[in-house]
């Protein structure tokens, strides 16, 4: 058995869910590594789209931010943000969008705006960015986030993005899919976790699949790709 970090497990789990996906709106950090891992494993035809205005990026290094110059050089197309959001995203060409969340609820609705009251927040978060329209226009949404009773909440302090199109939520403990009536359902727990620990790490009583699987360990090949090619300095994965 390989030794691996929680971040590596999240990346691998998200990458596997991208099997066969064609067009993916990439965020920085873990989603970026997950998408690049998927492209090298389960989704070789994957096209990377960055909200900054890039389609078909082929970054020569791990992008440091959402708008790194390495996502431009060698890309298929660079466009204005009006066209990227208008023609690509709102035009319906994005299969999967990745979102992070400070808070998520059982419906997949997301808060990235404030903790506390909107007018007098205890914590001012970054806000929507493109999340609000990505959630409404990408065909499906992947969420990658660590779970805890503070992040998996019964009631959001603010609804920044709707959960209607959330398909998968990958956390440090397990994998959820949205079921037919729109509730997140725990389908798999990662190695080292179990359903009880998952339950204790969230603010609502989760739906649980009849037979919860254990997420397969990251393979040696997946770990090698992450460690040697995608994040050799371990910026995001250690």
């Amino acid at each position: 058995m390989n030794d691996f970090s929680a971040s590596e497990m999240m990346i691998v789990a998200a990458a596997r869910e991208l099997s066969g996906t064609r067009v993916c709106f990439v965020g920085v950090g873990l989603p970026n590594i997950a998408v690049n891992l998927a492209k090298r494993t389960v989704a070789p035809g994957l096209e990377l789209v960055y909200e900054a205005g890039v389609f078909g990026a082929r970054p020569a290094r791990l992008p440091l931010s959402i708008g790194d110059p390495t996502i431009v050089t060698g890309a298929t197309a660079v466009t204005s943000m009006l066209e990227l959001f208008g023609y690509y995203l709102q035009g319906g060409l994005i299969d999967v969008g990745f979102l992070g969340a400070a808070q998520i609820d059982s419906r997949g609705d997301i808060n990235t705006t404030v903790i506390g009251q909107y007018e007098t927040p205890t914590t001012r978060l970054p806000g929507s960015g493109g999340a609000c329209e990505i959630a409404q226009n990408a065909k499906s949404i992947f969420v990658i986030m660590r779970q805890s009773p503070r992040s998996f909440v019964e009631r959001l302090d603010f609804k920044t993005s709707v959960g209607d199109r959330v398909r998968v939520v990958v956390t440090d403990l397990g994998i959820y899919h949205r079921d037919d009536d729109g509730e997140l359902r725990l389908g798999s727990v990662h190695p080292g976790a179990d359903v009880e620990r998952v339950r204790a790490s969230m603010g609502w009583e989760p739906r649980v699949a009849p037979s919860v699987a254990q997420t397969p360990d990251p393979s040696a090949d997946e770990l090698r790709l992450i460690r040697e090619e995608l994040d050799p300095q371990g910026v995001y994965t250690r």
Binding site: K39, R61, T73, A75, T76, E83
Partner: protein, 312 residues
């Protein structure tokens, strides 16, 4: 086809015959766009040869290509904004059809900006696009799809046009790679908007280039292969219109058409000889003769190169 990143790219290269045959269907709304520049004559002629029927043809300026298609009987309806032989005069075949009693051709008309906004709404998946036009004119009465819209921020009322989403867009371009990643320079018209608005896209190019040529200058790309269904290599496929840097507009033909098209029979003879009577565009080009195309060739005017920088 294996790309240098190891992924397998679609090879969408097709003959014009196959592209039109598979992607243009009777009854379709078709947009062969290109504002004076890069007008897809080769595609229009192939549609005539294949005797497609009941097409709704969309274009800001129907130009000679739609005049020929209307004369050939493939078109039921025109959606347009300016109906003329640019710099010359009328489109006589279209006028004959629309002035007949009863009219042989349905017309749905906007202004240039209205048509551009319609494609843009289609590309953006918006139900409508707002614009400052039509106020005080008879156009909204002539076309009830031009409708007023109230600003949510003031008492101001402007106009809206509805999204236009053609079944097929046909775009002529200077170059594309086999996956359909397409680059154009010079006049851009509204080809990008029309293509993103359409269900299916055919790209016809002067040159088929390696993917690396496209990726060396990603700001020059107007369409990603993602939305392209077929790539057709057809040098001189925009003749008698022009391709910036490749050949000039063949103005003599625009003047000739003014004479040819004044009479239905002479149009038929022309179509028989130059469209129905040739197998494809390369036969048309051969029949026109090298000297004609040589005379249309400009001298070089290079853009110069910029540096994107390699960031590793």
């Amino acid at each position: 086809m294996v790309r240098d990143d190891g992924a397998v790219a679609d090879n969408k290269v097709a003959s014009m015959h196959d592209a039109i045959s598979e992607l243009v269907r009777d009854g379709d709304a078709v947009a062969i766009e290109g504002f004076t520049h890069l007008i897809g004559f080769a595609a229009g002629h192939e549609i005539i040869r294949q005797r497609k029927r009941d097409l709704t043809l969309c274009r800001l300026t129907p130009d000679l290509v739609y005049d020929q298609m209307v004369a050939a009987g493939v078109c039921r309806k025109l959606v347009f904004s300016w109906l003329g032989n640019p710099g010359v005069g009328s489109l006589h075949a279209i006028r004959r059809a629309s002035e007949a009693s009863p009219p042989q051709l349905e017309l749905e008309e906007y202004s240039h900006f209205g048509m551009v906004c319609r494609y843009t709404a289609g590309a953006m998946n918006l139900p409508f696009f707002p614009l400052r036009s039509y106020e005080g004119t008879d156009l909204p009465r002539a076309n009830p799809l031009i409708r007023p819209i109230q600003s949510p921020y003031s008492e101001e009322r402007i106009y809206a046009v509805p999204a236009l989403k053609p079944d097929v867009a046909i775009i002529h371009a200077q170059r594309a790679d086999a996956a359909g990643d397409t680059q154009v320079w010079g006049l851009l018209g509204c080809q990008k908007e029309a293509a993103f608005a359409a269900d299916r896209v055919i790209v016809v190019v002067e040159e088929l280039v390696d993917e690396s040529v496209i990726r060396a200058d990603p700001n020059r790309t107007i369409l990603p292969g993602l939305i392209v269904d077929a790539v057709v290599l057809e040098p001189f496929g925009a003749h008698p219109s022009y391709a910036q840097g490749y050949y000039d507009r063949d103005n003599a033909f625009y003047l000739d058409w003014d004479v040819i098209s004044r009479d239905a029979e002479s149009v038929d003879r022309w179509l028989d000889e130059w469209v129905i009577g040739v197998a494809d565009r390369s036969e048309y080009v051969a029949k026109m003769g090298d000297a004609r195309f040589l005379a249309l060739r400009p001298t070089p005017a290079p853009s110069g190169s910029v540096d994107y920088g390699e960031y590793r």
